[in-house]
């Protein structure tokens, strides 16, 4: 992501800017910024231009004026750096890129006994099966339902919590509260679901207390009607606290002089929040919204597969669990791979689209348009 023009950009951008010999503190070469340039597959000349620019950079960097630095020189200079990236690149190639190629079985009548090499190709048959399968469409519907519900009932909570916590002025108290509410993020889904089971389940704490008070009990864990609320509550309990960290960071970079000046001008605390605090965290909100939209088809896979048995696939079947059951459990590998590939491609398009949308609205988004 690129440096937003608002204060939150400050901290990390400055040193990197220094490195590039820039004074304005804007991070020039930036993690994700490189992606679209490569991906756009601009004319090769663009890439050559980039190379030439880098070479010039090197030349001035060493304080020596040279017309060309051959790649051989650069290889000699940078070979240790390349060696250092090798283990990670090797692991990614083997466990991320080879499986990408393995998706070829989505176009095959794949059988594990015959293998990828010898399984016959069947064209788009598997994809046709996927899209005409009511169970798959049902899983897509459930996925979007959960995503939408959580967008409304989960997404704003960390923002509100961050604003609330930011208003706690005693540093010791604020730090303690932060430490506590970050904690559940580091618990496993098994643990979170089990805790909910022990508290809201049929034999759980709440049920027992209700029964003692003379009310009829309920079992939140196995009730399909309330499942949407259940999974959202679990997600809130686990991750809403952690979600505030990024907003608190953005809030910490706001220049207090802004608040002071507006207070002098007679702005009350609500006006200050509306005109100073919210604009300061707007880029962060939009960034997270984009990331969430790009992840729209991914909804807590571990969380759902743990509870699919208890409430049934009617409400708990999402795309990922469907792929798992069709592929690993039922052995319809090619069909499941096709369904998974559809999800992967649509997710990629969603990220790119959401980012584009952010640019249209003048925000930085996940990466910068170069």
């Amino acid at each position: 992501m690129t440096a937003p023009s608002t204060p939150p950009a400050g901290p990390t951008a400055a040193p990197a800017g220094r490195r590039e010999g820039r004074a304005d503190g804007v991070l020039e070469i930036d993690l994700a910024a490189d992606a679209p340039r490569e991906r756009d597959g601009e004319a090769p000349s663009g890439r050559r231009r980039g190379l030439a620019r880098r070479d010039r950079e090197v030349a001035t960097h060493n304080g020596v004026v040279m017309n060309t630095i051959t790649w051989r020189d650069r290889l000699r200079r940078d070979k240790t750096l390349l060696v250092m990236t090798l283990p990670a690149v090797g692991l990614l190639v083997l466990f991320a890129y080879v499986p990408m190629l393995g998706n070829v079985i989505a176009w095959q009548d794949y059988s594990p006994y015959i293998g990828i090499a010898d399984s016959p190709f069947v064209g788009w048959d598997n994809f046709v099966r996927v899209f005409s399968n009511p169970q798959f469409l049902h899983a897509v519907g459930n996925t979007l339902l959960i995503t939408g519900f959580q967008l409304v009932f989960f997404f704003p909570i960390p923002i509100m919590l961050a604003l609330l916590l930011n208003s706690v002025v005693t540093p010791a108290l604020r730090t303690s509260i932060q430490s506590i509410i970050y904690l559940p993020h580091f618990f496993s889904w098994v643990l979170v679901v089990t805790i909910f089971q022990q508290i809201f389940g049929g034999a759980g704490l709440v049920n027992r207390l209700l029964a003692q008070a003379g009310y009829t009990g309920f079992d939140l864990m196995t009730n399909p009607d309330t499942f949407l609320v259940l999974v959202t509550s679990q997600a809130v309990w686990k991750d809403a606290g952690w979600g505030i960290i990024i907003f608190l960071a953005a809030l910490a970079t706001v220049d207090p002089a802004h608040y002071e000046a507006s207070a002098m001008d007679g702005a009350g605390r609500w006006r200050r929040m509306w005109h100073i605090t919210l604009p300061a965290i707007r880029p962060t909100i939009i960034l997270l919204l984009i990331l969430r939209l790009g992840d729209a088809l991914t909804v807590g896979f571990e969380q759902l597969i743990l509870q699919r048995g208890a409430v049934g696939p009617g409400v708990a079947e999402v795309i990922d669990t469907y792929v798992y059951y069709q592929g690993v459990i039922n052995g319809d590998w090619a069909f499941a791979a096709a369904a998974g590939l559809v999800k992967g491609v649509v997710s990629l398009l969603l990220v790119l689209g959401a980012n584009k949308l952010a640019h249209v609205f003048g925000e930085d988004g996940v990466y910068r348009k170069s």
Binding site: M1, G10, A13, P15, R19, L31, D34, E38, V58, R74, L75, D78, T80, L81, L82, M84, T85, P87, A88, L91, P99, I105, P112, L161, L164, L165, V168, T170, P171, I177, I180, I181, Y182, P184, F186, F187, S188, V190, Q197, Q198, I199, L205, R208, W237, I246, A249, A252, T253, A257, R269, I305, D320, Y324, G327, V328, A337, G340, G344, V345, S347
Partner: protein
Amino acid sequence: MSISTDAGQGPLGRLDAVPVPAPERDARPSGGPRRPRRSKHRNAWEGRPTPIGQGAKIVILSVVVLAVLFPLYTVILTSFSTTADVNRSGGMVIIPGDLTIAAYQQILSGGIVTRAAGVSVFVTTVGTILSTIVSVMAAYGLSRPSSLGHRPILFVFLVTMFFGAGMIPTYLLVSNLGLIDSLWALILPGAVSAFNVLILRSFFMGIDPAITEAARIDGAGDFRILGRIVLPMSTAVVAVVALFYGVGYFNAFFNAMLYINDNTLWPLQLVLRSYVLQGVTLPGSGAGQVDVTTGAVTGLPVKMAIMVLAVVPILAVYPFVQRHFTKGVIFGAVKG
């Protein structure tokens, strides 16, 4: 980027590279006689909070904090409770009665839970060390944008953040590599997280190049610079990334469900799922029944003891790494 300049401030103290002056919360003008109870942390211009607002704030924050702490409290308490107390309360114990460690003796005296704890410790330790070393090296290797092949290599990492191969081809690959029922299947496929590499990389890029350049002129190679200069300056962010990896390895259950059929190789989370969540009685654990001879522990304290076992390592490491979160996470998160 030096990491020492905000010592003495909370994790939310500004990052040191921010050009704006820090909020001088303590340097308030001396409060006039009309406001004797002003907090020393509140700026003069902020005005006093209304009693209703202050009350609501206290209530909400208390509820939030209790919502996190209460479940932990009752789980831990139940795991130390006797059968009599569990029966009296009808389930989870809220009010402490007699305390006993019988449940822990039972699950740690051998059997499937003990073995699972060993598996989890092994996978987490080996995995975290491997992932952290590989990621630190990769991040350093990518920290100089002018180096040869920088852009394409960075691209290799970035693509994995936007497009995943999917579960089925990954499963088939692991299966074809013969890693089914091998603990390496729990480590290698997720060993490198591009996100963590980028967090480290952006921190390394923030280190003043004059420092590393000086070392290079003195004849230090890149491995030496990384080990002797860059790493000591980056302990906070490396600790956070190591925690992310460690928590990931320790908490994962689905990869074990996928790749490990032999239940003697199950990690703790999978045992927790099968025995505690789904209520399957695991062979040889002896749990689930009333044990008359050794102090009468029913299933519930044993179940809760397994849960505590599944959270203790996190509670143990958390306080030491927690204070570095803001720095470590912000580097990756806010900066992408």
